[in-house]
């Protein structure tokens, strides 16, 4: 390629096209940067580039304070949060890249040791209960609503392939499932307005000694997790000495799709 002069779409690629990928998205048009550089480059350490091309999505449970299903020990088939990649397997399939899962506790319960586990499962045959589905919001309304509809752009906004549900039951792990994360959010009694955050793919952070009943934010870093088409991410809380809907609160999930 004779570099810039042969590039037809002179920049703004992030507003109109995705970078050509092995997934087959716009592979006939080269990806160029905001200033027609022959590569789309990230600036800084943040995730704004995936928001820029319309790939970043957030799911916020809009202050509902839902009761949250948890168990005293790990219980197969019962999930606090279940995320499904609804893209069809094939060359155009996208993956979900988890950024974070956050949970704001809205009630006070005096129990100790809040643990979590995350499983991946490629078994698409699970049957979720759709009553507790969460919305997904694109982090860039410009891409979502406008730029993809202008001349030369993508005709329609690709909808978010992720579907999120709370409090799923009777969804047993398949033999192909795998545990990808296990950790502890809090070792002392929980307090209302605690924030529990699972951060994917970042640096591990030193926790502190949090006194019982004093609310704070607790961040646990886990491995980078990617969910392929027709696969599940299954998240569960375990609280020794407690079971059922002991928690109420609000989930948030941030992820990008490519």
């Amino acid at each position: 390629m004779a570099l810039f002069r042969d590039v037809k779409s002179k920049g703004l690629v992030r507003r109109q096209d995705r970078t050509p990928t092995l997934d087959g998205l716009n592979r006939d048009r080269p990806g160029v940067g905001r200033y027609a550089e022959p590569a789309v480059l990230s600036f800084g350490k943040g995730l704004h580039n995936v928001a820029d091309d319309g790939s970043y999505w957030a799911s916020v449970d809009n202050f509902n304070g839902n009761p949250i299903q948890c168990h005293a020990t790990f219980t197969d088939g019962s999930w606090t949060l279940a995320i499904f990649n609804n893209d069809t397997v094939g060359v155009d399939a996208r993956r979900l890249y988890l950024d974070y899962v956050s949970f704001v506790l809205s009630n006070t319960i005096v129990i100790t040791d809040l643990n979590f586990a995350i499983h991946l499962d490629p078994d698409q045959s699970k049957a979720p209960n759709g009553a507790s589905q969460l919305d997904t919001q694109c982090a860039n309304l410009d891409v979502n609503a406008r730029q993809r509809n202008i001349v030369g752009g993508i005709a329609n906004t690709p909808p978010c392939p992720a579907i999120l549900w709370l409090n799923q039951t009777a969804m047993l792990l398949s033999p192909k499932s795998r545990l990808v994360a296990r950790g502890k959010m809090r070792g002392s009694a929980q307090a209302a307005t605690d924030e529990y955050v699972i951060s994917f793919g970042g640096k591990h952070l030193q926790g502190g000694i949090y006194s019982s009943g004093n609310p704070g934010r607790f961040v646990s870093t886990v491995a980078p997790v990617t969910v392929g088409p027709q696969a599940w991410l299954l998240f569960s809380f375990q609280v020794p000495g407690s079971a059922g809907s002991a928690f109420s609160g609000e989930f948030q999930v941030g992820f990008w799709v490519r």
Binding site: D99, A139, L141
Partner: protein
């Protein structure tokens, strides 16, 4: 391509307009030493300041409680018509640039012990400025953190920033991007609250009552396109007052 074809230096925003969506020919950007691609040599955002696209909104009369906006709405519950910060991108859709939000910093001067202090970030693709009481919107100074660039925004009309007690029309097509806990016990005068966009989360050791702290919060990366708005709200679980203070906003324009 020879090196002579390479437009030197990275001051694109000063010397050349960015590429237009109608694909009209424009200069491409190249590196400081004639590189064909502008690469950042550091993992921070200094390249954005270098090219003159990073902007700050600050209150220059810092520390003086005169003319400062309301930064804490210590009223009970979330109200979709009462943000304390509006950042509206007023550019037209074509060729409009986008605003990339880096951070929001709040420095309240007073205390509001009205229960848990929440923060909410929303976006809306429909203007809701119809109900705005302009007199309530305190004006920040827009500047650039690069002495080589003019001390003005790249384009005068790129956006509107309002702070304070800002009643606006009701939600239209808003999205809630994040809801987080800024302080578990209300606010303390002398606290600092920072909301970072698109970065990794940090711990928040439960701050006891009466202690002042710098508390960092997190929001997904948010991009505000032409005609879109960013709205920031804070509210307490109980109470009915506003607390004044300083706000600083960092963002870039591309």
């Amino acid at each position: 391509m020879s090196a002579s074809d390479v437009n030197p230096k990275s001051v694109v925003r000063v010397d050349h307009a960015g590429p237009a969506p109608d694909f009209s020919p424009v200069y491409y950007r190249s590196g400081d030493l004639g590189c064909q691609v502008m690469l950042s040599i550091v993992p921070t955002k200094h390249l954005l300041a270098d090219e003159g696209t990073y902007c700050l909104a600050t209150f220059q009369n810092f520390g003086v409680d005169s003319g400062l906006p309301e930064v804490i709405r210590a009223a009970s519950g979330f109200d979709t018509t009462s943000p304390i910060l509006i950042l509206a991108n007023l550019e037209s859709a074509r060729p409009g640039r986008r605003l990339y939000i880096d951070y929001i910093r709040l420095l309240p001067l007073g205390s509001a012990s009205d229960g848990t202090l929440h923060g909410v970030v929303q976006t809306d693709m429909v203007s809701r400025l119809g109900g705005l009481v302009v007199a309530n919107a305190k004006t920040a100074t827009l500047t650039q953190p690069n002495t080589d660039s003019a001390n003005v925004p790249p384009v005068a009309a790129y956006g509107l920033i309002g702070f304070g007690n800002l009643p606006i029309t009701g939600p239209s097509q808003q999205q809630t991007m994040s809801h987080f806990i800024m302080h578990n016990i209300g606010s303390n005068g002398g606290d600092e609250y920072v909301i970072s966009f698109g970065e990794k989360w940090g711990q928040n050791p439960g701050i006891g009552s009466g202690f002042k702290a710098s508390i960092h919060n997190h929001c997904p990366p948010v991009v505000v396109g032409p005609g879109d708005m960013l709205l920031f709200f804070d509210y307490a679980d109980s109470g009915s007052t506003y607390i004044t203070g300083e706000i600083e906003v960092g963002f870039w324009v591309r």
